[in-house]
């Protein structure tokens, strides 16, 4: 009985901290001198949106073990679908967001079908092709996508609530919107991971043959993983389009796909919280690098830093930042309750433990 309460208490604690942080952050930022709080909030919103993609990508790479270097493609589809629906068809923002999510999920499912035949480096190159193809298609269909100049002056995001409508005008409004969507999707991802679907994902990652022998339907769960992670990228893309108010094909390069990959590797493969922290860290790192006064050549520096992060994390910290947290938590638990620690460790290890 006590055991159950404790487990639940521990699982709820990060949400409590996260929710408190969400509420406190805007008022804290107002205090920082010299920087407009609006800009920081905009940056935080961007980081939260990237975190949504990272969590989705984490389900695919970290839990199911299927790599994708083309998630900027899904992100782009979500952004363009949402932008086109609101601009051309005048759909309300919420409807556009949902349709964009459903559309990308469908495309993710369809891409999952050929991806069933590929693994490892082959899957990486094929998904890279997807990421390269989407911006090309956008430029090609210039008559309705706006071509390389993109789509601009998107309507403000709004949320109808019964009689009146909330319109997200300021950076702070948008920040709350992004945070709310992120919280819902984080809880959803954690529940998926804990469900039988999540177990099937991990089983496929650890050994496809063993998973099949246990009766895991590879086709069903791999395509589900692709569809889910595409859904996250699509919703994030929709939020992104309305945050920036304008999108162009150059926003969705292969480098963005690699950004997403670096986020989850840095945060820790196979951990929802890791994806979240990796996304926040990397977005701020990128912004900090552009502000370095000594560097003229920001783009190359950033690319080299990304590569170094990927290699060093895999070499020295294969479970990413989440691995550090997990290890220190285990040490703490061992000190507090020496007897119970061993059982805890077994549970922790089998529970989406990342790469071993």
């Amino acid at each position: 009985m006590v055991h159950w309460l404790r487990t639940r208490g521990r699982a709820a604690a990060p949400y409590g901290v996260g929710l408190a942080a969400v509420i406190v952050v805007p008022s804290l930022l107002g205090v920082i001198p010299g920087i407009a709080p609006g800009y920081i909030l905009y940056l935080v919103s961007l980081a939260l949106i990237y975190a949504i993609v990272a969590i989705g990508l984490g389900l695919l790479i970290g839990h199911t073990g299927q790599i994708s270097l083309g998630h900027a493609g899904f992100f782009a589809i979500g952004a363009y679908a949402s932008a086109l629906l609101t601009l051309r068809l005048g759909l309300p923002f919420v409807a556009a967001l949902l349709v964009a999510g459903a559309l990308t999920a469908t495309i993710g499912f369809l891409l999952g079908l050929p991806a069933l035949r590929l693994s490892g480096p082959y899957l990486a190159v094929a998904t890279l092709g997807f990421g390269l193809a989407i911006p090309q298609l956008v430029v090609w269909q210039a008559s309705w996508t706006g071509g390389s100049s993109g789509l601009h002056s998107l309507p403000l995001a709004s949320l109808p609530l019964g009689a009146f409508t909330i319109v997200f005008r300021t950076d702070q409004d948008y920040y709350y919107l992004a945070a709310a969507v992120l919280i819902v999707l984080t809880i959803f991802a954690r529940n998926v991971v804990a469900s039988h679907t999540g177990r099937a994902f991990v089983a496929i990652r650890d050994s496809e043959i063993a998973a099949r022998a246990m009766g895991v339907d590879l086709v069903r769960y791999k395509t589900t993983a692709f569809a889910l992670s595409a859904l996250y990228a699509g919703i994030a893309g929709s939020l992104y389009a309305h945050l920036i108010h304008g999108i162009s094909p150059e926003d969705f390069t292969v480098l963005l796909s690699v950004d997403f990959l670096t986020m989850i590797v840095l945060g820790g493969l196979g951990s929802v919280g890791g994806a979240l922290s990796g996304a926040l860290l990397l977005t701020f790192l990128q912004n900090a690098l552009t502000r370095l006064p000594v560097v003229h050549d920001f783009k190359n520096l950033y690319i080299v830093v990304l590569g170094a992060i990927l290699i060093l994390t895999i070499a020295f910290l294969p479970r990413g930042l989440a691995g550090i947290v997990r290890a220190s938590r285990q040490r703490w638990a061992a000190r507090v309750r020496p007897g119970a620690s061993r059982l805890d460790q077994i549970v922790e290890l089998s529970d989406g433990s990342g790469v071993r």
């Binding site: 790479i61 073990g65 790599i67 270097l69 891409l111 079908l113 050929p114 035949r117 590929l118 693994s119 490892g120 480096p121 082959y122 990486a124 190159v125 094929a126 890279l128 092709g129 997807f130 390269l132 193809a133 090309q136 298609l137 430029v139 090609w140 990652r205 496809e208 043959i209 022998a213 292969v254 690699v258 990959l261 590797v265 493969l269 050549d297 783009k299 190359n300 520096l301 950033y302 690319i303 080299v304 990304l306 590569g307 170094a308 992060i309 990927l310 290699i311 895999i314 070499a315 294969p318 790469v355 071993r356």
Partner: protein
């Protein structure tokens, strides 16, 4: 890509003749590849297939950024190895550059085929690819074979780069397109078949030229669509067999 830039520097800054620059670049690429294997890849755990893939992505980012740093992003023309009037066979006109490319490819293919088929080292490399543990039990040094494989692979990449750069252009990001098209060719021909890769490459080249002439914006898209189509309709490719792994 990186090696091609080295070749470019050798050719333009040091004004070396093409043949000398070609050989020097090959040696550089081979050593560089082996060095990367030794310094980086060997220390990466291979318990999952993801790790090497992620590390390779990281490596290519570092090379891309460094090349961008040293040589910049402006698109350059790469000096052609041969110049002169095109060769004519009846109605077929073939530039000397294309003829050379064709010749080098043919020679390389033959050498590689013979190497993997007959030489003990080549057979040992295939054994390592097939089953690491069994290969190790047979007394094959896994580390040496991996280093050799990386060196050879990098050198092949350098040859490809030096042959493609005069045809197209030189730019740090050029090899992404090349990798995608090479993969599409391999899938079309059949991933398990060496002649399949050749047939696939020829086919992809023709499709790419014809469709790419009609809609030049969509060249990468075509390669991607081909990959998807072949994998769905005929997963083994044209010449390969589709194998389902069984215990």
């Amino acid at each position: 890509m990186f090696s091609t830039f080295v070749a470019f520097t050798l050719l333009t800054v040091f004004q070396l003749p093409f043949a000398v620059a070609f050989v020097l670049t090959l040696v550089f690429a081979g050593l560089f590849g082996a060095l990367i294997e030794r310094v980086v890849l060997r220390h990466i755990s291979t318990t999952t297939v993801l790790n090497p893939v992620i590390v390779t992505v990281g490596l290519s980012l570092i090379l891309l950024g460094t090349a961008g740093w040293i040589w910049g992003y402006e698109i350059r023309t790469f000096p052609a190895p041969v110049v002169g009037p095109p060769l004519r066979f009846a109605t077929v006109v073939l530039s000397q550059l294309n003829a050379l490319t064709f010749l080098v490819t043919l020679v390389l293919m033959t050498v590689l085929f013979a190497f993997f088929r007959f030489s003990p080292t080549g057979i040992a490399m295939r054994a390592v690819a097939e089953n690491r543990t069994a290969a190790q039990l047979m007394g094959i040094s896994i580390g040496r074979m991996n280093a050799l494989g990386w060196g050879m692979g990098t050198a092949m990449g350098a040859v490809t780069g030096m042959l493609i750069a005069p045809l197209n252009y030189l730019d740090p990001s050029m090899m992404g397109d090349v990798a995608l098209k090479a993969f599409a060719a391999a899938v079309v021909g059949g991933l398990t078949s060496l002649p399949g890769a050749v047939v696939g490459g020829l086919l992809l080249g023709i499709i790419d030229s014809v469709v790419g002439f009609e809609v030049p914006e969509l060249r990468n898209t075509i390669a991607f669509v081909l990959i998807v189509l072949v994998l769905v309709v005929r997963p083994g490719g044209l010449l390969g067999k589709h194998e389902i792994k069984k215990v």
